[in-house]
Every structure is written in structure tokens, then in C-alpha cells.
Amino acid sequence: MTVQEARREGLGTLDLVAARGGGLQLPTCDHCGEIAWPPRLVCGRCHSLDTPRWCEVGPGGRIEAMTLVHAALGRAHVDRPPVPVAIVHLDFGAEIIALTHANVTYGDRVDVFAELDRTGRAVLVAVPRGMGHPSVAEVRESLGLSMSVREIALFGGGSRLADAIERIGPRVSISGRGGEAPDGVVVMLPTLDPIDAGARDMRFGDLLLATERMADHLRTAATLLMERVAQEPVTLVAVLPDRALCPAPNDSGGAAAAAAAFSLVSATRQRWRPEGLRVVTALVDDTVDTVTLAGALLDVFEATSDYVAIGPRAAATFESWRNDPMRLERESMGYL
């Protein structure tokens, strides 16, 4: 493993820390307490060979220096230069580079949090402490870290789902027609005609046709989002039935279509992720009603994971699939 790979792995963990919320966690040496930041494979202070573990550390620190960055900004900040960046000396004894608020100056006390930016990546944010300073929410807002979508294009969903989403906040256009260029897309794969979840006798030709339609929808949705990708982070959420992960007995057609959908979404992710499009696979079970689904989908836009499960059965299936996909399949077919 190279130094860079070790760091990348560490940063994946920071994504989880940020997604979970709560206190700041950083890799810390079990033996000497040194905070290993950026993440290291071994301790650079006491030379212990045990990889520093992610532990909660105090968020307090002091600004050592702050700069306003004007040049060559990343996608999450493109519309908000200049971006304030600071070196913070943590009370627990480490120097970290963090985003901060433009008002902070040398010597200010700050609290550091791991936060998700609009591309779903974790960033460290130093928020000034005490009265008269901007709040966490204000700092988040000033940095453009809020990820809530404003304009959603809905593919394959009914008007009831569109209404339910609009009642919560964002505007929804059906199939991207009529609205502005969206910053989020929801593609409902199970309800796409002619895939009828649970159909017993789906013919092979129907399955092929359905797969092509799904591919079409995903391609159209991705292309629509790419119009906005240069200006701001964009997310495509593909919703499919949880049975994509395992066939139910006597449901070969529906499960096969769902499995095809699952693969198509993965292929879409591979194709578009490098160009800045975040693609989320959302597995839904049939116990979820429209209003719950609308709320859960908006949460998905703000979450960091590429895979989410909505509904109790979907969550259980997803968990089981992650642990051992083969066992799940045997169980669901009644072999175990």
C-alpha cells in the first residue's frame, strides 16, 4: 500500500465520520496519543506499527493562519470564491487544514467538524467559537456546503410522488420537461412500463425492451444533469426494488429486471462519476408509502453513501447482501 492509498482509505473513513455527524474523529495512535493527520499507516511519533485508530478527539483549536483562495476552485465552490482556508492547531495536538469562515483571524478559537460538501465528500470545517460569531449553519451556508437540491427532475414516478416531494421543498418537473436544468434527478426504475414488479410470465423480449428503456432513462437523466455539473454538484438517485439483490421464488421476471436495473445503475455510476456526477442506488421495499419515500429520497440527496436502503425489508436485505451475497440468494430461494 502506498502512502497515498493509505491516505485515501483514511479519507473514506472521514466521509463516514461526516455522514454520521457528531464529534470530530481523527486517527489517533493507541500508544502515544499522537493524532496522525493526514492519515498514516504507522505512528510517526512513537513509531508504533499499529495503525492509528479513528477516535473522537476534542474539536477545539486555534487558527494559526488563514488565507482566502481565489484561484482554480473545485466544483463544490465554483460559485463562491474566495474560499477561506485555515491551518488550525487542535488542542489535542495536530495541525489540520480546514475550510473556515471569512471573518476568522489569527488566534481565534474554533471548533472543528467533519462536514459533507455538496459533492458528498468530507471536508474539515473550523467554526469560530463564542458569541457574536457565525453559527455552524451560517458557516456551512457561507461555504456552500448545504446540499439540498432545488430542482428535481422525476423520471418514471407518478404525480403523487412529485406532489409529495414539492410539499417538502424542491420544485419537481416530470422527465425534466418544462423546468429549469435540474440539480437532482430521481429515476424510478421499478415503475417503468412494461416492468411490472412481480409479473410471473414476463417474456424474454419484454425484459430486453425494459432493460433498454431503463438504460435510456438513465442516459437521458445523466445528460440532463451534466448541463449543471460545471456550476454545482449534481446527484442522480436511481430507485429500484430491493429484490434486485436476490430473486424471490416464482418471480424470475421481476427479479431479473430489477437485477438488470441494479447493474445498469452501477454502469451509469462508473460512466459518469469521473465527470462529477454522483449516482446513488436506492433500494426500496413495497412497504414504503409515497410520502415516506419522498422524505427519504430528499435525505438521500444529502447523504454521502452511494447505496441506501429505504424501508425495513430493504434495509435487512441490503445488510444481508453486504455481508454475504451468496448466502442471501440461497436463503431467498428457500435452499437454506
Binding site: R7, P38, G44, A65, M66, L68, H89, I97, L99
Partner: protein, 400 residues
């Protein structure tokens, strides 16, 4: 203190003119080796050592490069220490030549630019996916300003280097001096750094020879002796914000080894990733006390015709940075100056940028900017006979 580098010298300094950027790095390396040998009047077959530093040869090793160029070597290496590579390469080659393990080493740095930063940085390292090095250097510069440095001090360095680069055939910005207003009003990269505070990436190459003094004399080559050399990487890892590099730790032994006082140097070449890094290197090398760098800068003209000639060919800021060969640029220029070879014959006649009476030069490097600081540090003092025609022909730059 280590043994002196007796009997080993540096010679045949060579710089490529800024190159068309589509030339592959291997071609640049080949051209620099040819240029070095041409300068020395030697043939490829006489080389038995090669040190190549480059960031753009991909997976190619020194072994593959030597094979590609048809060189049969007893020493092959290529330090990858950013700006400190050149000094490290010269230091290692000198030890091997002194020990008789190898006769003649070509030390080459070449890179094609603009070199894209390696894709190492998820956003935590690269908080806004901007040029990470620039952000770190801006923060370090901020800290230096808190201790008394001003933007005018940084401007002094930039302007002096532009003046030094004037008319130099291989400098990128060789079109004459820059006005203070142009510097102060330039567009901001990351406050307080403006575009003039960071080098422009170019394609280029630099090289020189490390060989025995007797061989240099036999080949009638002007040469420079190594009075002292040091490397110290990743020093002071517990400093909150970088205000010193590894050289600060070893400066005392370094000058003891050189046998001269810091004020005996005629020229100084620093690895100027940004002006604050040059100031830090002045302080680390003991040219002034820690914290007095800004005052030191105000007390000198830093130009070739004034007091303390600094980065006499414009440094990285005015000459452009040929990727990993940035440190080679400084060392090659120092060899040119102390051997009296700082001139070039161009279509418009001979251009000379020789510093009058330059015989002892300090070369310093601070680079390898990692998460929040520059990790690599190295320095070398070299001495030659100078131009020979200035105040007493042929006086030796011997250690005191």
C-alpha cells in the same frame, strides 16, 4: 562534521532554453546530456555515471533511461526530493567519485511542463481542489507576515529576480524589470500570494558533471569545488506552522565544514517556490538571524549588480520551473557564476549575466510541500575561480 569533498569538482553547467512542451521528457534528458558533454568537450562514452531526476518519465527508471540513451554506467540514480534533488544528487555522486567507484557522473534534471499535479488529493488535503501547494505556501506566508514581513518585501525578491532574468536566453520572463505596482495589483491566487509569487511551469532541463579535479584540469574545464553539502529532510515535524527548514538544524556544522563564514558568499541561489520560502532559506542558512529575514531583504538589492546577488538567473519565479528540475536550475546557475561562465552567445551577440567577482556561492533548497509544510531541505557551498578577469585574475576560491 563530514570529510571534505577533496579532489572532486562540478563542471560543465548547461541549461536548455524553454522548450516546446510537447517534447517527451526523454528527449529533454538526451538534449541536456548532449549539452553538458558538448560544454565539456567530452563524449558519451566517457560518462560512467548518471543521475536523472524527472517527474514525467512515468514508470521509466534510471536504468531504462540509460539504456534508452545508450549509456553504460557504474552509477545510476535519480533522487526524487523535489527542489532538493540536485544538491542530493551532486552530494552522492561526489562521494562516489571521491571514493573511486565511478569516474564521471552527469547530474540531470529535466521535466516537461506544465506538469499536472498527481491525483493525490481528495478534498481534505485539497480543501477546495485548488492548487494545494499554493494554499499551503499562502498560509506559511501569512504566518511570516505576522512576524513582520510585508508584501513589499516579497515584491523586492520578485522584482529583483525579474531584473536578473532580463535578456537571459533561457529565462521565461526575460523581457525586463517589473514595476512594483504590477506586483501589488496582480491577481490574487490565495491571499497574500499573487500570480508573481508562484513559478510558471515550463518544459526544460538542467545538467552538470561531477568528476575528479585532475580530469577537469586535463580537459581544461573551469570547475567548482564543493566546500560543504548537507541534506536534512522532514525536520521540525512538531513545529506548528513552518517557519524553518531542515537546514536550520545543521547550519552551524554546515558552515564549519565549509570553512567560511556565511557573509563570505558572493551569490546565493534559493529554491524559490514563493518569496517567503527564499526568506526562510536566508534565515535557515544563517545569512541572518531567524525572524530577521525581511529586514535582511530590505538591506540588500538582491540584484546581480548590487549587494547579495540572489537567484542570478531569475530563479524559478522569473525563469519558470521545469518541474522536478527546479533545484537543478539553482545549482547549475551557481556553478556558472563561480566558474565565470555566466554568458551565452545568441543571434544578437554575447549576453553576459556574470556577477563581478563571484567565486563562492551558496545553493539552498526547501521544497517537497506535503500536507502543511516543505519537507525536503538541502544546501551546498561551492567555490570556483570566478570570471578570472575581475579583481585579481585567477584567484582561487579556496576555503579559508
Amino acid at each position: 562534521m563530514s570529510a571534505a569533498y577533496d579532489g572532486v569538482v562540478l563542471a560543465a553547467p548547461f541549461s536548455l532554453k524553454p522548450h516546446r512542451s510537447e517534447a517527451p521528457t526523454l528527449r529533454l534528458v538526451a538534449e541536456v546530456i548532449a549539452g553538458v558533454l558538448d560544454t565539456a568537450g567530452l563524449r558519451h562514452g566517457q560518462l560512467d555515471g548518471l543521475s536523472v531526476t524527472s517527474g514525467t518519465t512515468g514508470a521509466e527508471t534510471a536504468l531504462g533511461i540509460a539504456d534508452h540513451l545508450g549509456l553504460s554506467c557504474r552509477y545510476l540514480d535519480g533522487p526524487v526530493l523535489d527542489g532538493a534533488s540536485a544538491i542530493a544528487a551532486a552530494r552522492r555522486a561526489a562521494r562516489l567519485v571521491a571514493a573511486g567507484d565511478v569516474d564521471m557522473v552527469a547530474v540531470i534534471g529535466a521535466d516537461r511542463g506544465p506538469v499536472a499535479a498527481p491525483p493525490v488529493s481528495p478534498q481534505t488535503f485539497d480543501p477546495v481542489a485548488a492548487d494545494r501547494e499554493t494554499i499551503v505556501l499562502a498560509l506559511i506566508t501569512q504566518a511570516m507576515m505576522r512576524r513582520g514581513a510585508t508584501r513589499e518585501d516579497f515584491a523586492r525578491l520578485c522584482l529583483a529576480q525579474r531584473t536578473n532574468a532580463h535578456r537571459l536566453p533561457f529565462a521565461l520572463h526575460n523581457d525586463g524589470p517589473m514595476a512594483l505596482e504590477d506586483y501589488l495589483d496582480a491577481s490574487v491566487l490565495a491571499a497574500p500570494l499573487v500570480v508573481h509569487d508562484r513559478p510558471t511551469p515550463i518544459s526544460g532541463g538542467e545538467g552538470f558533471l561531477v568528476l575528479r579535479e585532475v580530469d577537469a584540469v586535463a580537459a581544461r574545464l573551469p570547475f567548482a569545488r564543493i566546500l560543504a553539502a548537507t541534506e536534512r529532510h522532514n525536520a521540525y515535524r512538531f513545529d506548528d506552522l513552518q517557519f524553518r527548514g531542515g537546514l536550520a538544524r545543521d547550519a552551524e556544522t554546515f558552515w564549519l565544514e565549509a570553512g567560511i563564514e556565511p557573509d563570505a558568499i558572493d551569490i546565493v541561489e534559493t529554491n524559490d517556490e514563493c518569496p517567503a520560502f527564499s526568506i526562510m532559506q536566508f534565515e535557515d542558512a544563517g545569512l541572518c538571524l531567524k525572524g530577521e529575514g525581511p529586514a535582511f531583504v530590505r538591506a540588500h538589492t538582491l540584484t546581480r549588480d548590487g549587494s547579495l546577488a540572489h537567484n542570478t538567473s531569475g530563479g524559478l519565479l522569473a525563469a519558470g520551473r521545469p518541474g522536478a528540475a527546479g533545484g537543478h536550475l539553482a545549482l547549475v546557475e551557481a556553478i556558472r557564476q563561480v566558474t565565470g561562465s555566466a554568458f551565452a552567445d545568441t543571434a544578437e551577440g554575447r549576453v553576459s549575466w556574470q556577477v563581478a567577482g563571484a567565486r563562492v556561492g551558496l545553493v539552498s533548497a526547501l521544497g517537497g510541500v506535503a500536507y502543511d509544510r516543505g519537507l525536503a531541505s538541502a544546501a551546498m557551498v561551492i567555490a570556483g575561480d570566478g570570471a578570472g578577469d575581475v579583481d585579481g585574475a585567477g584567484a582561487q576560491g579556496e576555503p579559508a
